[in-house]
Amino acid sequence: MSGHSTYEPKTGIERWLDARLPIIRFAKETAIDFPTPKNLNYWYTFGGILAVCLVVQILTGVILAMHYVPNGDMAFNSVEHIMRDVNYGWLIRYMHANGASMFFLAVYIHIARGLYYGSYKAPREVLWILGCIIYLLMMATAFMGYVLPWGQMSFAGAVVITSLFSALDQIIPGLGTAITTWLWGGFAVGGATLNRFFSLHYLLPFMIAGVVGLHIWALHVPGNNNPTGVEPTSKEDMVPFHPYYTVKDGFAISAFFILFAWFVFFAPEALGHVDNQVPANPLVTPAHIVPEWYFLPFYAILRSVPQKLFGVLAMFGSIAMLFALPWLDTSKVRSMRYRPTARIFLILFVLATIGLGWCGGKEPADMVITMGHDANNDPTGFSVVWFSRILAIYYYAYFVLILPLLGLFETPSEVPTTISTPVLPKGGSAIPAGAVAAPEKKG
């Protein structure tokens, strides 16, 4: 990270501080001067968007926690109190609830970008794994946050997810039951569960923030990957982070906020479920339990396996695949821009995941293609559960078969020798004169 500092303390105070805690030097090196490949496209703005999402969630969440009551009898009404009586409470709550969806939308794009440009490959494996840990923490946080309003779907979701651990009874009898009892703080999901979920929902975002710090540290050691997947070879390949990427990220963040604001102000409950406006009632189970949209692909994988333990393993395994990815992809070429075959398989992988999400929102017995009706007039044909089985197999095959083998057999197209090569006319110099010399003095 060092070696590109142009920081010179000018005042006495700055020199004094620089000798004791060089924090200004650190900020200048990492957030201003940091050399960044000049060819990063808009897919690379999602890292900045995600940082803003985390800040929005923590700020709105801290304010919500001032008014929310984590008690089984009062939680639902306290959320409505926020919506009705707290000044701009409706705005803060809708930002927080929709902010979670925006966070996941951005993280899925961020992950897909990493998959496409091979950002998980050496020397960025640790960076990638830290990202996977952030994603796992996000899922835990979002799940527990969804429980807090204590509506019908909150309650059903808490029951379904915590009960997954009871599958461990099939390995050691009693183990799963003991774990679920421990998680619940009782013998069923109830007030004690809600209270601990609130505690953890407040804790985990700060753990996310900590891992984000490590993620950015791990980014700044090897530096950014870029769409060519070619490591920068000269200064001409790079621009300083500021102002080039502060303005590009800033533009993207602002554009992303237009989408965010659309949901917050004009469709705040479009991504939710009406059953969650009914207070939790352990005696009534919603007719159709569905998780939030961002969990649907994993829910579909879970339900595609008829045996509970293996279903749970398949679901967690689908995320574990991401952790192993750096060692599963055998290709020497980093970016799929130069791997035409791999590109098609990746697009199919993204479509399979979206398809799994679609399956997760349907009942397993629903038909994808109806071919007829049985004696009870129930439709027969190609069912959702079979469709999700096929998609889940492809999901796994992408990691354990396609990527390991493709790297050995495919013929990549020609990889440019430098980052600058693809954008320059033949024989042109690497960079127009004066481009990076003093950008802040222009205009």
Partner: protein, 291 residues
């Protein structure tokens, strides 16, 4: 160029495949419901720029107070809410002190709420104040069930957000009562309503392929023509009463809805303008970098 077009072709082909599969699906869920009715004239509050019709909310409040409130609680609402900005009885003169509004005081004073006498500790009934929550018709759930054939009339505070279709669902249910088709057995004290989600397969004697849509509801048809007399002279048809009470319930479910949409418009204009400025800054800063 070749690279991009190949990518787009594959993506389009894949999406097309998914769309075909999606279109072919006809869900065979057990619960059925007739498609919701179109509300005559639509609701004024729909859409990104929709606003509540205050006269309709006032009529809807009267329907609620004279009909619904005899069985349904509305525990999240207080009488003061009726006079807050955006509410059915909002008046600019009491903009900063809605609870001082004589409308709210008068509406509340007509209602007796249970309380404890501070001197004797006895349970008493006293006239409500604007600060009181809407009076619940029953003291507890068993009492509510006992008076309604075992069924619990749901709290209506957020009903318009708690059902698919919201206000349109409320309108459809209230106006949708029809005689049960021949072959459908309805238990005494229950009623057939095609807009109530349900599964009538077990009470249907006809063919499995012609099970009627909808379900049974414990509430009988309520909004007969003229049931409520509207003070503004609006004809009190079933449809008008249902539309007005659905409007009122849409407001109680989210009293800040109109404020939200109005703020949203300003935020959108600001964000689009600000994003445009950032884009121009981006173009200017990057103008000399080939990338």
């Amino acid at each position: 160029m070749l690279r991009k077009s190949a990518l787009i072709r594959t993506a389009v082909a894949g999406l097309g495949l998914l769309a075909v599969i999606g279109a072919g699906s006809v869900a065979g869920a057990a619960t059925t419901q007739a498609p919701l009715k179109e509300v005559p004239g639509g609701f004024s509050f729909e859409g990104p720029l929709g606003k509540f019709d205050q006269a309709s909310m006032q009529r809807g409040f009267k329907v609620y107070a004279e009909v619904c409130a005899s069985c349904h609680a509305m525990s999240l609402m207080s009488y003061r809410n009726l006079c807050q900005p955006g509410g059915p009885f909002y008046d600019e003169r009491w903009k900063d002190h809605p609870a001082e509004s004589p409308y709210c005081k008068a509406i509340a004073a007509d209602v007796k709420v249970p309380d404890i006498d501070p001197d004797t500790g006895d349970a008493i009934q006293r006239p409500a104040t604007p600060a009181d929550h809407f009076r619940s018709p029953f003291p507890n759930e068993p009492a509510a069930r006992a008076s309604n054939g075992g069924a619990l009339p749901p709290d209506l505070s957020v009903m318009a957000r708690a059902r698919e279709g919201g206000p349109q669902y409320i309108y459809s249910i209230l106006t949708g009562y029809v005689a049960p088709p021949a072959g459908l057995t309805i238990a005494p004290g229950k009623f057939y309503n095609p807009y109530m989600p349900g599964d009538l397969g077990s009470s249907w004697s006809g063919s499995k392929t012609t099970v009627p849509l909808g379900g049974v509801i414990a509430m009988p048809f309520q909004l007969t023509a003229g049931r409520v007399t509207f003070d503004d002279g609006t004809p009190s048809t079933t449809s008008q009463q249902a539309k007005d009470v659905a409007t009122f319930l849409a407001w109680t479910a989210e009293p800040k809805q109109q404020e939200r949409k109005e703020a949203g418009l300003a935020v959108m204009i600001y964000l689009i303008f600000f994003t445009g400025i950032l884009y121009l800054s981006y173009r200017r800063i990057w103008r000399d970098v080939a990338h």
